[in-house]
């Protein structure tokens, strides 16, 4: 029985033993799958469909084993639709990895099994090689074995993390060595999930194998299995616009509404949040020289466009070579255009100032007119002076909006981004360096939320009440502070991501707030373990 403790698309689970000790998956499985000899006919990957159908029926009773550890063997050739999941097995065994791994149908099999089964169930993929393990974990696998180590040792191959190397060493030493490489990869997989970098490990291990790389690229991971913002920097060196972190950001950021119609386009900085960098300090000082609030929009790869209000949600390291790929250029312009569209639908007219260095200006491809305020390096005295002058001129004609109200607006947009809904009333009080939000309730000042180190809202139960049944988890009893276990769980919003702030509701009444330990989708399938840490109850 597994209990998930960390998700990074793939996951780490506690594996409970009879003793009080526990170990964590992904790991080598400790029991042997028993396929009763001569009782089943195995379905080759490319078996004709008619054959596969007949054999699936034939094998059904033999492939579901309810021994001490209950398990089901998954074998339906390439026909994912023929897979008939028996519920709540301890382990699901994926057969025929040697074919599956090379074939496009892979993503219809392993991740789909993961989608269908409980998070408390494990997926065991026998026979995996080191380079395949990270991708398999990414797709939902939990258990592996050493069988490939011996097989390739007998063939005279030594494992590396990425390939087979022909060797003259004897079988026993190759076998031992190959097993150690599997151990190393499993250790690295765990380390990477813990540090939120499993995708990088998957990139490393799939990049030199066209089959794996194809299946990695085809695979569309479940975005609720990564948090909205990771606590470590993410590393992005390839596939910039396609990685899940960016997909997840874009999905939400594309609804961002600017506060004012004066939009200033800024370059990104390697220091994050951008506003902590020297260059952005210069920009902000220049912008603050006028009374008028201005929308600051950072152009960047891989995130496309990042409004200042959301800057704390992006933290990444990318190679700096000053070259943009065509895909990056297309991506940035696409979301810049989307942003301008929203601005235009909100305001009669937009004023765009491009305070950007040359290599940004080169890629800018929008239909609207814009003023270039930079003169070469945007941090040069000249550029900054230009910017101030342009802003001053605009300031004369600007509507009377306040920077104070902009600050609230930005937090409201953050709330929309994070929680799907703004819960901050217009009369909220924003206080402190470690920002906190309060409202007056009669004579009392009540805290609604604070902003944590990742730049995200942490709610109080009063905040949760204002939010209402949004990003919710429904329970069937009056919860207390602490852990919400599967038995008390009733339902959840499928939009809930792992690590999300969630509102705990019972009979449509808000009981409190907490932090989700897994996605809403996973909670709905869970049978054991903690689903939510409830922080505040009324």
């Amino acid at each position: 029985m597994l209990e998930p403790i960390l998700y990074d698309i793939g996951r780490i689970c506690k594996e409970k033993h009879e003793s009080n000790s526990f170990s964590t998956t992904p790991k080598i499985i400790e029991f042997d799958i028993n396929v009763p000899p001569l009782k089943t006919l195995k379905i080759p990957f490319d078996a004709p469909r008619e054959v596969a159908e007949e054999l699936v029926k034939l094998n059904k009773s033999e492939y579901v084993r309810k021994s001490e550890v209950s398990y089901q063997i998954i074998n339906a050739g390439k026909y994912a639709d023929l897979i008939d999941i028996e519920e709540n097995m301890d382990v699901y065994v994926i057969s025929d990895l040697r074919q599956i791994i090379k074939r496009r149908e892979m993503i219809e099999i392993i991740p789909k099994v993961r989608e269908m089964i409980s998070p408390n169930s494990g997926i065991y993929v026998p026979g995996a090689m080191p380079l395949e393990i990270p991708l398999l974990v990414y797709m939902g696998a939990d258990y592996f074995d050493y069988s490939s180590a011996s097989y390739y040792a007998a063939q005279g191959y030594k494992f590396s993390k990425n390939r087979l190397i022909k060797s003259e060493e004897d079988f026993e030493s190759l076998k031992t060595f190959n097993e150690s490489i599997i151990d190393q990869v499993l250790e690295e997989v765990k380390f990477c999930i813990e540090s939120g970098s499993l995708r990088n490990l998957v990139e490393e291990t799939t990049i030199s194998n066209p089959y794996l790389r194809s299946n990695y690229r085809r695979f569309k991971p479940e975005l609720t299995n990564i948090p909205i913002s990771k606590s470590n920097k993410i590393i992005v060196t390839i596939d910039e616009t396609k990685i899940p972190e960016v997909q997840k950001y874009i999905e939400r950021a594309k609804n961002y509404e600017p506060y004012t119609n004066v939009i200033i386009l800024l370059p990104c900085s390697s220091k994050k949040p951008y506003s902590y960098s020297k260059s952005h300090q210069f920009f902000i000082n220049a912008i603050n020289s006028v009374r008028m609030p201005v929308e600051e929009l950072i152009l960047t790869s891989p995130y496309g466009v990042v409004p200042r209000a959301l800057e704390r949600l992006v933290d990444y390291d990318i190679p700096v070579t000053g070259e943009w790929s065509s895909d990056e250029i297309d991506f940035i312009n696409k979301y810049l255009k989307n942003y301008i569209e929203i601005a235009k639908s909100k305001f009669e007219e937009v004023k765009i100032i491009a305070h950007l260095p040359e290599h940004y200006l080169e890629i800018l491809d929008i239909d609207e007119d814009y003023i270039i305020s930079s003169d070469g390096n945007p941090t040069s005295d000249n550029s900054l002076k230009n910017l101030k002058n342009i802003l001053k001129e605009l300031d004369q004609t600007a509507d009377s909006k306040s920077k104070r109200a902009q600050r609230l607006h930005n937090y409201q947009e953050l709330a929309k981004f994070q929680l799907g809904k703004n819960f901050l009333p217009e009369d909220v009080m924003i206080k402190g360096r470690h920002v906190k939000f309060f409202i007056k309730e009669g004579k009392n000042t009540v805290q609604l939320a604070s902003i944590n180190d990742n730049g995200l809202f942490v709610l109080t139960s009063q905040g949760g009440e204002l939010l209402g049944k949004t990003n919710w988890v429904e329970v069937d009893f009056n919860v207390k502070k602490g852990s919400l276990f599967a038995p008390g769980f009733k339902d959840a919003d499928e939009a809930v991501s792992v690590n999300d702030e969630v509102v705990i509701v019972k009979d449509n009444e808000v009981l409190g707030v907490g932090r989700a330990l897994m996605s809403g989708k996973e909670m709905k399938k869970a049978t054991h373990g903690v689903l939510v840490n409830i922080r505040h109850v009324k």
Partner: protein
């Protein structure tokens, strides 16, 4: 569509490529050294008659590893044609034929099926043999045709030892009737054995080594198990047939996708050793057609042991000495690990070089 429909479809598609041949000549005919049912050595005279072919294959698509139907005639074969085939074969070898030979009459199906060989023709041929004299007569037939009536019809004419080769393939019902799609109920096999015993006719049990859809390890177990049971049921000899890749079959489809691999010779050695040591008196043989080639049973295809082991099989078939089966080679380790890995993969693996 069912599996049978599928098999019928590919069979029909493949049969379109079949060519018409002269119906008055047999498919093949030859004389070779052989072991008789009484374990003495001698020569055998084999005629493979060109008939209409296996009715099971026409009706149901046939067996998943078999394409002998391709040798059968697309055109009608008359009783007259068949007689001509026999006569021409005998005519061809008349100088070498004598009374101490075994005469083997094979078709690409069942000799006893009147769909292939009309009763009248069968009797014509037996009569001619009885005239010529023979130490043994061997024919092949599916089990369902080993009936009292058919035994009567043989025994009425032939006075020598008679042996019928019956494709038992496997005594595991799923394997035989689903994986191989043999279409022979276990009951029919049991009947055949008892009828044969009643009429003192020998049954040579053909056992397929490595049907599709099972692992190498299971294939070994199944072949051993089937052989032991056949011997127990009183077969006159065991003839193991290591699977080879016939064109136009289901296993060819799988093999081409590298999802089937013919058996390792190590597996066959193990089967032969096991069966022979458990049944030292039984006559245990191994067909070596295709062995050591890519499409036949083989070890690591680059290994020099392939041809050596093929010779061992032939030697063993003749000598029946178990110690002939002893051979070692470095590549044996690969076979052991292949089987282990295949067990983990659950589904049969293809060629070890292509995984």
């Amino acid at each position: 569509m069912s599996m049978a429909d599928y098999l019928k479809n590919i069979r029909e598609k493949h049969l379109k490529k079949r060519k018409e041949r002269n119906p008055d000549y047999p498919i093949a005919v030859w004389i070779q050294n052989d072991v008789f049912r009484d374990k003495t050595f001698g020569q055998s005279f084999t005629i493979i008659l060109r008939t209409k072919g296996c009715k099971w294959a026409y009706d149901s698509g046939g067996c998943t590893m078999c394409s002998y139907l391709m040798d059968a005639s697309p055109a009608e074969i008359t009783s007259e044609n068949l007689k001509n085939q026999f006569d021409s074969a005998v005519e061809k070898y008349k100088d070498q034929l004598n009374k101490n030979m075994s005469i083997k009459l094979f078709t690409s199906g069942s000799f006893l099926d009147t769909f292939e060989i009309p009763l009248e023709t069968r009797e014509y041929i037996f009569k001619r043999i009885e005239e010529m004299g023979a130490k043994e007569v061997a024919i092949e037939s599916r089990a369902e045709f080993v009936t009292p009536e058919n035994m009567e019809s043989i025994k009425n004419i032939l006075s020598c030892n008679i042996e019928i080769g019956v494709g038992i393939e496997s005594l595991n019902e799923k394997i035989r009737n689903v994986a191989i799609h043999k279409g022979v109920p276990t009951k029919a096999i049991e009947n055949a054995f008892s009828v044969a015993e009643e009429y003192d006719v020998g049954i040579k049990a053909y056992i397929l080594i490595k049907p599709p859809f099972i692992s190498e390890k299971e294939a070994i177990a199944d072949a051993i198990d089937t052989a032991n049971k056949c011997i127990e049921m009183g077969c006159s000899r065991i003839s193991f047939c290591p699977a080879s890749i016939h064109k136009g079959t289901l296993i060819e489809t799988l093999w081409k996708k590298n999802q089937y691999r013919p058996p390792f010779l190590w597996s066959i050695l193990e089967i032969l050793k096991e069966v022979k040591s458990k049944n030292p008196d039984a006559l245990v043989m191994c067909d070596t057609a295709g062995v050591s080639s890519k499409r036949g049973a083989h070890n690591n295809i680059d290994c020099t042991c392939n041809d050596k082991i093929k010779d061992i099989f032939n030697d063993f078939t003749v000598t029946q000495k178990i110690e002939k089966l002893d051979i070692e080679c470095d590549c044996k380790k690969e076979w052991i690990e292949y089987m282990e890995y295949e067990q983990k993969n659950i589904v049969p693996l293809g060629d070890e070089k292509l995984i």
